[in-house]
Amino acid sequence: MSDILKSLEAPINENIPELRSGDIVNVHALVKEGERERVQQFKGTIIRVRNSGNNANFTVRRIASNGVGVERTFLARSPRVEKVVVERHSKVRRANLYFLRDRTGKSARLKQKFN
């Protein structure tokens, strides 16, 4: 990419640590409710991380009520993402954990990684 386009990128959010697929995270994102803004938390497993400048994003998957899977993709450099808290890492062998979409319950768990 040209240097000019690079220079237009938004600054890196200091409140987002380095993220890996399989991390269990809590994303604090700003949502607009009528007139006022508040922070909404979204907790789940990162199933995909894309690093590409201003378009850097990551997808978090969580199981909502009734066992419905919900995935949300956040733009890592967006000012609407306040901070990301990594609660634990998982031992995974691939970059994109799409296989989690076909699994529920016990088989959808990931082994914790300690370091």
């Binding site: 990419m1 040209s2 000019i4 386009l5 237009l8 990128e9 938004a10 700003l30 400048g53 201003n54 378009n55 733009l75 450099r77 967006s78 000012p79 609407r80």
Partner: protein, 209 residues
């Protein structure tokens, strides 16, 4: 008032606006442009302004181009384009920069679209092609009938057919200016702009508001 610049397409990226919404933008390095000639109705039969862009080594230009620019004490400029305007209000030698454009303003951008080569009717004109099933063979992307029988007994002129696509002058109208960087002569508009990276584009004030 003349509102126009010649520029070079840098490429596309996305930026965040004040609400945190990601905008797809095209970045253009526009200007500084010099007024190289003012055409008036008395002498030329129409009124327009000729602008020049991209200072280069004099050896890169032909003698005629050098002479044209030198007679007005202008630097050697590679690209010269005319802008039609009713009231020029500028003088030869004047320098125009991206500062004449403001954030939120609408502009028209003209460029040479990417060449696609010889293309079929589906890609070139959006034809639907033939049925995919029911015993069809060789008809999936065919253009279909091109006209009636012995009356008129010929194919109408201008009938849409396969042929060369792209590499023509295209104007994108009403693009919103979302970035102006006077220091680096950059202008950013929301959306796409005709042509590839490095292509020469013309930025004009919007015809339709």
């Amino acid at each position: 008032m003349l509102k126009g610049l010649i520029g070079k397409k840098i490429g596309m990226t996305q930026i965040f606006d004040e609400n945190g919404v990601a905008l797809p933008i095209t970045v253009i390095e526009a200007g500084p442009c010099y007024v190289t000639q003012v055409r008036n109705p008395e002498r030329d039969g129409y009124s327009a302004v000729q602008l020049g862009f991209n200072e280069v080594h004099p050896k890169k230009l032909t003698g005629g181009q050098r002479g044209h620019l030198k007679s007005n004490d202008l630097p050697p400029l590679r690209y010269l384009r005319e802008f039609r305007t009713k009231s020029p209000e500028v003088k030869v030698g004047e320098k125009l920069t991206v500062e004449e454009f403001e954030l939120g303003e609408r502009v028209d951008i003209t460029g040479i679209s990417k060449g696609k080569g010889f293309q079929g009717g589906m890609k070139r004109h959006g034809f639907k092609g033939g049925p995919k099933t029911h015993g069809q063979s060789d008809r999936h992307r065919a253009p279909g009938s091109v006209g009636a029988g012995s009356s008129p007994g010929r194919v109408h002129k201008g009938k849409k057919m396969p042929g060369h696509m792209g590499n023509v002058r295209v104007t994108s109208q009403g693009l919103k200016v979302v970035l102006v960087d006077a220091e680096r002569n950059l202008i950013g508009v929301r959306g796409a702009v005709p042509g590839g990276k490095g292509g020469i584009v013309i930025v004009n004030g919007a015809r339709k508001q």
